[in-house]
Each structure stands twice: as structure tokens, then as C-alpha cells.
Symmetry: C2
Subunit: 474 residues, 2 copies
């Protein structure tokens, strides 16, 4: 494809996306077709001869692919956690694709590394993170694909420390333990499994029934029990904004325990970290000065497209020591000088794309104030929805909603709640998901799509109230 | 950013990329500034107020970022392995960014999963992979970010098998071993370290001095020795196209050994897998019917931008069993029906973007024949360069070059070769990298950028010959 062919086709794709965003609200949020529908509509073999105009592919996108999508940017999408994107993010990522550079080493594209280091320092300032995470000291930030990978990398660095450096050579040679609350994300168990600790290596610590947050006394007891058994506590993962309810673990108390026992503290703020751009929400990040590592996902709630997890460590040398492998074909003068960052040593994969560009475009388009406006809008819409729920005696709000997620249910049994969720989602005007809180089926409404307004949240409430009417609850 | 603002700014970015591609050849391949130059040119803090037009960011791209890049798409870039991209790949990825959907579960965006499954079957046909890898049987393919992650995932599935399923719960409770040749990629050691085997868990098997390929007899001996010591052989990673020299391990013999001992065989064809789109290069994939898993990187040599590693398994149930974790908030009817693929269980991260789109755009633009033309062009250009080297008695070609990488050196000591490389790269007209073959410093010229022609390869040769003149070698 020549540069001029690209220019012409590129305009068509830009138009297609602009039209998609302008009309996404009119589409059903979720598809209706059964499994296999999209696959059946595609040819069984790749084309032999190419040269199809991009317009032909866009036509198939319209007729085959888009009807099979759940539209995460739809203003009625309230499921899981949001996965925001925005125009500037898409354009920054487009530049990254067009440049096609590899940032595995500083030497393989210096600007790719340096822009990322600077942007991570900018983000650290935006969230008012402790100074120890900045690259100007011993710390530093890096973009991971997801919080799952951040947790994995933190677990590996923790094993390196807990083994006094043996782990790199000997692997898992003792019973190392990871600790997180019963509402810690599933990626913590997955990271432990990947790292060779097994499910048995993860201690699920009980939560306070009111706050749904980790109980420090239970953490201490678990650590003591493991030490008494001769096991090695390696990492504690505290959560700021759990996936179930956005509970905030008491990081100051957890951090003090980690400091006392010399255990690596990773703080997972995948969703709620974005909230820290607002000074009034920074209470949620108290105690972060204890953390050895911290991450949040700009791709969840900060208008930056997947994949973009922002991960920081307080001691970058420790992380690099844990992960570095230097084969001959990557040796270069800059690396050997020690004066540069080689981000391949901060992550699982070797290769890496220029992901800092999308963050750069987002920060320059929205500025700090624009990002705060976005977060505050989500918090206010969630509060508005929670007010509706509270005003109806048939319903209850089942957890605090400091951010933009509301957990609620009918005062009825689990099956009735599940049926209500199914009916509301069946309208395909909105999409909500569920969790369990204290064992009970609970609906979740997470605001986040930049296009969501009061009208969309109000519509979600009307559909829920109507479903409750139909279900003849008292 | 409204859809119409996006449309206007999007055209500007498309133009910027088209202009970049049209002029990249005129730029120095590598930057000249010392570490810290790009960082120093950026503000120390993020903007408070946003609203900067995209044109302002593009201007800073031109003045600050681009001068600090190594241009991987430059026709004079011959370093490492190529990281091809192409217009259709960029546009497919742009659609993915614009849709902003999450494909972690089938239910979270069915078309994202189904298009990927179909595209991976298309690729399997294009490469004529064994039928066992297709989703129509027990196998199936998935897009990973990189071959590093593919090797890690294969290692985890292998541990699950080697432990008879204990590993998920107990973790690493015995001494498990991984085997690869002395030229196996560094990501194999990294995967073993991540998985908790440690560097001691990796057996580096000697290579044949002529072919630089793994010696099956040495593999068998290492396995026998480990078994005798009570250790558990878990995985063998064979390489089709090693990073140093593109050596092809004897997969038929290796596969027979793995079958005999019940060891997981992963075949890493990260670079050379693309060659299998050409029937005349499929000899390199002999023995693949023994493999439990296989991967190659369309982002290296198949005109698809990073990140896109294509990874297949022969038994998808085994992989899913090893990696699945199902928290309440991800439960859904489609998953519970067993009728769908949830790709989150095929990879390390939970979230995933719609990467099949870029492959779809590439396959429809180039078709099978267009991809073959691209591969054959690279092979022919490499052969042309090797002829030049062979025709000059001062030089020697030090390994076979079945694909598009030529390994060569001056008949001189290591320092002289290193100096020659430095002088040629210092011209910034071309960029080559190095390796060591049988302990000796060796230059590598890897053809791959779609814009590279005979003129660029000839220029590389002229610069090398001139450097040799200057170094006054006999």
C-alpha cells in the first residue's frame, strides 16, 4: 500500500470511526445472535489474491462484525469496569502504529523510552503519588498491557527479594506465600499460579463485613501462621477499589505490617487509581508511601484505550535485577553504560510498542482539568443512580460507592435478582453485570463511557424499576 | 473530542503518517543525540488545561520525538529481526482502537473472539500447519502479544501436564526442566524464570557446529540425566529460525524424542514462521505434527504491526485447564454453556484488544499471493547480499541463510568486526546488529522492511566494503 493509497483509505477509516461514535447510541448495546454467527458469515479460507479496497472490508465490518459486538463505548454500557477510550487516545495510538518502532531497548528507539519515562512521571504528579515512584529518584514507571501483568511482575520481584536473590537461579525452592483480600482480583491468583506458587500459595484474607475491605488483623494472623509453618511470605496485594464493590483496603495498616515483616507490598488500583487525579478522592490512596509497587489502568477510566496499565516501582534496580536476561544480540553500548532504561527488563515480553503516545495525546487534549471533569462526572452520575435506588424501598444499595460503581439489589432472593438483571439486559438499551457480596447475588452499575449522561443513567433506573414491577416484588 | 473534531484531527494524523512513510528514507536510520535529549525537551509537568489542537502535538512529534527514533520501517533498517508493518495493518488496528471493545470473554464482544478464531484458522491454512492446530478439531489459535508470552504460556501448560495437574494447586513442588538449544531465544530462559524453574531449570543443549541447530542426541542425553536424577522433564522448545543465525532445529527427531518421553514440545518460529506461506520454504516446518504448541510473529515478517504473535495449541482444553480462573464477576451463560471460546484463558492478561482486525485487513489487502511476494523479495535480497559477501575474499558468510538473514564477518578478529559494524552504523544510512556464532563476533543483516530494494542492500554492501578498506584488512 503506497503512502497515497494509505492516505485515501485512511480518510475512509477515520470517517467510519467518526460515524460509528456518532451513531453507537442507536445500536443495541449487546448482540443477539447465538455463538458461531459471526464465524459462519466469514469465508472458510483466506483470499488468494489481494487488492480488495478498504471500503469492501469496511462494508463487511458493518454487516458481519459490528452486529456481533458488545459496544463498550455505548453510553448505556455499565458492565464490568468501563474501558474508556477517546479521540486523542485513538489518534496517539494511530501514530504509534504508523511509526512501527520497537521500544524493547533504549537503543532500539530512544524517544519511545524517554517519552514513556516522562509521561509516567507526569502521571505520578497528576495522581500525587509518593516521590519514591518517580524516575528522578530510585523509582520509575512503565506501561504494562494490563493490571494482570503488573501484578505478575510485582510477584516476580517480590520472589526475588523474598529469596534473597536465589530465585533467579533456583526457582521456587520453598513455600512462598501471597496475600490478598477475599475480594482481590482473580489476576492475583493467576499471577501466583504463573509464578509457580499454586493456588495453595495464595492466602485469601477475610474482609470486614461493612467495608468489604481487608482486615489487617487477619492478614497479620495469616502471616504469623505461615512463618510458624516455615513458609515464606513474599507479597501482599492490597486493592484500592475492588472489582466487586470498589472497596478500599486499609493501606496504611497493611503497609505497616508489610514493613514490619519485610514483605513486598503491591497496591492494585486498576480501576480506582484514575480517581486520584481529583484531590477530593485522594483519601483513597492514603498509605501509598509503604508500597513497593503500584498500578492503575488509564484504559479503564482515564480516556485512554486498552492496553495501558501504568505500573510504578519504588526501586527500579530490584525489578530489573529480577527480570533481566541479556543475550548477545541485544548487547549495546547504551545498555552497558548504565545510563539508560531498557524497558524490556520491566515486563514479561521482550518487544513493546510505543504506547506512551496515546497517553501524551490524551493529556494534551484534556489537560489535568479535563480528566478531573471526566472523573467527577462519573462519580456524580453514580451518586445520582444510587439516590434513585435508595429512594425505592424495594431496593437496597449494598456497599459504599466512593467512585462510579454502584452495587445494589432487590430485597429479594438471588434468583429474582438474576432474573431482573437478565430482563434489563435483554432490552439491549443498557448493559449491567453482577457480582456476589457476602455471598448474595448483587447487581453492578459502573459509569464510565464518556458519552454517558444523566439521561442514560435514568433510563437504566427506569428499566430496573419496570423489571421490579414485573417481578411483582413487594 | 466530538466525532467531528475527531474526523478533522484524524485526517491530519493520517496525512502525517503518509508523509512520514513517503520521506522516512531520507532520514538517518538511527538518532544521534545522547541519552536524555528527548526527555529534556519535554515539559516537567503535564498540562493543567487541555484543548491543544492535535496539530500542536504533531509539531512536537516532528521536532522532539521523530529525531529521537530508530526508524524500523526505514528501507536501510537491517537490524535484529524486522518489525514490519503496512498500511492495511495500521488501518485495521485503527478500527480496533476506535471500537474500543474488550475481548476477554466471548460474551464481552462475540465478534472479537469469532473473527480471531477464524483468522487463526486462515493463517494455519496459509502456513499449511498440521490439522490438529485448527479450531475445527481439538486445537486452536490465539493472538498473543509476543513470542515471549507464547513461550511462557506453553511452559505453563507443560507444567500442568508434567505435574499430572497438581501444579495448579501446589505450584512448583519438584525440579521441572525445560530444554532448548544454546541458540534458543532469551525468552525461553525468561519464561522458565517467570514460571519458577529458575535458570537452573533450563538445559541449554549443544548445537551442531555446522548447522547451529540443536543436536537430538544431546537432548536425549540431557533428558536421561535429569530423569536419573529424579527431575521432571516438562518442555522442549525447538526453534525454526534461531535469532542468531536462523538455524532450523531438527523438529522431526526432537518431536520423536518428546513423544517417547511424553514431554510437551513447543516450536518457536517467531521469525521464520512467516516463510511457510511459501510452499518452497515449508521444508523448514517438517515435523510440526509432533508439536503441542507452535507460534510465529506476523509482526516480524508478515506486514502486520506489533503486537501480533500467532500461537496455536493441539489441545485447547489442556491449555484452558492450566490457565483458567473464573471469578463471580465474569460468570455468564455463554461461558457456562461450554459452546464458546473465552480467550482470557489462553493468555496471561485478562483484558484483550481486537487484534484480529489488523490481520484481517492485511490478508484481504495482500492476499496469500501478496504475502508470498513479500517473503520471496526478502529471501532474494538476502541472497543477493550474501553473493556480494562471498565474492569478496576478505569476508566470509558464517551460516546458511535460508530466509532473509545473512550472518557474515571479516576474516579478522572480533574487535575489527565490531569496529566495522560501528563505522557502518555511524553513517546512519543503514543499521545492522551483531551476534556471536561459535563464540566469534558476527554481523547480521536482516532484510524485511517492505520498502527495502536491491539499491538499499547494495548500499549496505558498499558501506561495509568501504569500512573494510579503511580498516586495511588484507
Amino acid at each position: 500500500m503506497s503512502p497515497d493509497e494509505f492516505r485515501r483509505a485512511g480518510y475512509a477509516v477515520i470517517d467510519w470511526i467518526a460515524d460509528y461514535w456518532a451513531t453507537v447510541e442507536q445500536r443495541p448495546v449487546t448482540p443477539t445472535d447465538p455463538p458461531g454467527t459471526v464465524a459462519a458469515a466469514l469465508p472458510g479460507a483466506p483470499p488468494t489474491v489481494g487488492g480488495e479496497p478498504v471500503e469492501a472490508v469496511l462494508a463487511d465490518l458493518d454487516s458481519i462484525v459490528v452486529p456481533g459486538l458488545t459496544h463498550w463505548q455505548h453510553p448505556g454500557f455499565f458492565g464490568y469496569f468501563p474501558a474508556n477510550t477517546s479521540g486523542p487516545s485513538v489518534l496517539g495510538d494511530l501514530v504509534s502504529s504508523g511509526l512501527g518502532v520497537q521500544g524493547m531497548l533504549w537503543a532500539t528507539s530512544p524517544a519511545c523510552t524517554e517519552l514513556e519515562t516522562v509521561l509516567m512521571d507526569w502521571l505520578a504528579q497528576l495522581l500525587d503519588l509518593p516521590h519514591r515512584f518517580r524516575s528522578t529518584g530510585n523509582g520509575g514507571g512503565v506501561i504494562q498491557d494490563s493490571a494482570s501483568s503488573a501484578t505478575l511482575v510485582a510477584t516476580l520481584a517480590a520472589l526475588h527479594r523474598a529469596s534473597q536473590g536465589r530465585w533467579r537461579a533456583t526457582g521456587i525452592d520453598r513455600r512462598y506465600r501471597a496475600y490478598t483480600s477475599a475480594h482481590g482480583h482473580s489476576s492475583i491468583e493467576k499471577a501466583a499460579r504463573i509464578a509457580g506458587l499454586g493456588a495453595d500459595g495464595v492466602r485469601s484474607i477475610e474482609v470486614d463485613p461493612d467495608s468489604q475491605a481487608l482486615r489487617p488483623a487477619a492478614l497479620r494472623a495469616a502471616i504469623e501462621a505461615d512463618l510458624a509453618a516455615g513458609d515464606v511470605p513474599a507479597i501482599v496485594v492490597a486493592t484500592i477499589g475492588t472489582t466487586s464493590t470498589t472497596a478500599v483496603d486499609p493501606v496504611p495498616e497493611i503497609g505497616a505490617i508489610c514493613a514490619e515483616y519485610g514483605i513486598w507490598l503491591h497496591v492494585d488500583a486498576a480501576y480506582a487509581g484514575s480517581a486520584a487525579v481529583c484531590p477530593e478522592l485522594r483519601w483513597s490512596h492514603a498509605g501509598l508511601e509503604y508500597a513497593d509497587s503500584y498500578c492503575f489502568d488509564p484504559h479503564k477510566w482515564l480516556l485512554t484505550g486498552f492496553d495501558c496499565d501504568a505500573f510504578w516501582v519504588a526501586d527500579r534496580a530490584e525489578l530489573v535485577e529480577a527480570l533481566t536476561v541479556l543475550p548477545e544480540f541485544l548487547r549495546n553500548a547504551a545498555t552497558e553504560s548504565g545510563a539508560v532504561i531498557d524497558y524490556r527488563d520491566w515486563q514479561v515480553p521482550l518487544g513493546r510498542r510505543f504506547r506512551a503516545l496515546k497517553l501524551w495525546f490524551v493529556l494534551r487534549w484534556y489537560g489535568a482539568e479535563g480528566l478531573r471533569t471526566h472523573i467527577r462526572s462519573g462519580v456524580a452520575l453514580a451518586a445520582r443512580f444510587a439516590d434513585r435506588v435508595r429512594a425505592d424501598d424495594r431496593f437496597e444499595v449494598v456497599a459504599a460507592h466512593p467512585f462510579a460503581l454502584v452495587c445494589f439489589r432487590l430485597r429479594a432472593d438471588d434468583d429474582t435478582n438474576a432474573e431482573m438483571l437478565a430482563r434489563v439486559n435483554h432490552t439491549r438499551r443498557v448493559h449491567l453485570t453482577h457480582t456476589r457480596v457476602a455471598g448474595r447475588y448483587t447487581l453492578r452499575l459502573a459509569v464510565g463511557a464518556p458519552q454517558s449522561t444523566e439521561a442514560h443513567v435514568d433510563e437504566a433506573w427506569k428499566l430496573l424499576a419496570a423489571a421490579a414491577d414485573d417481578l411483582r416484588t413487594p
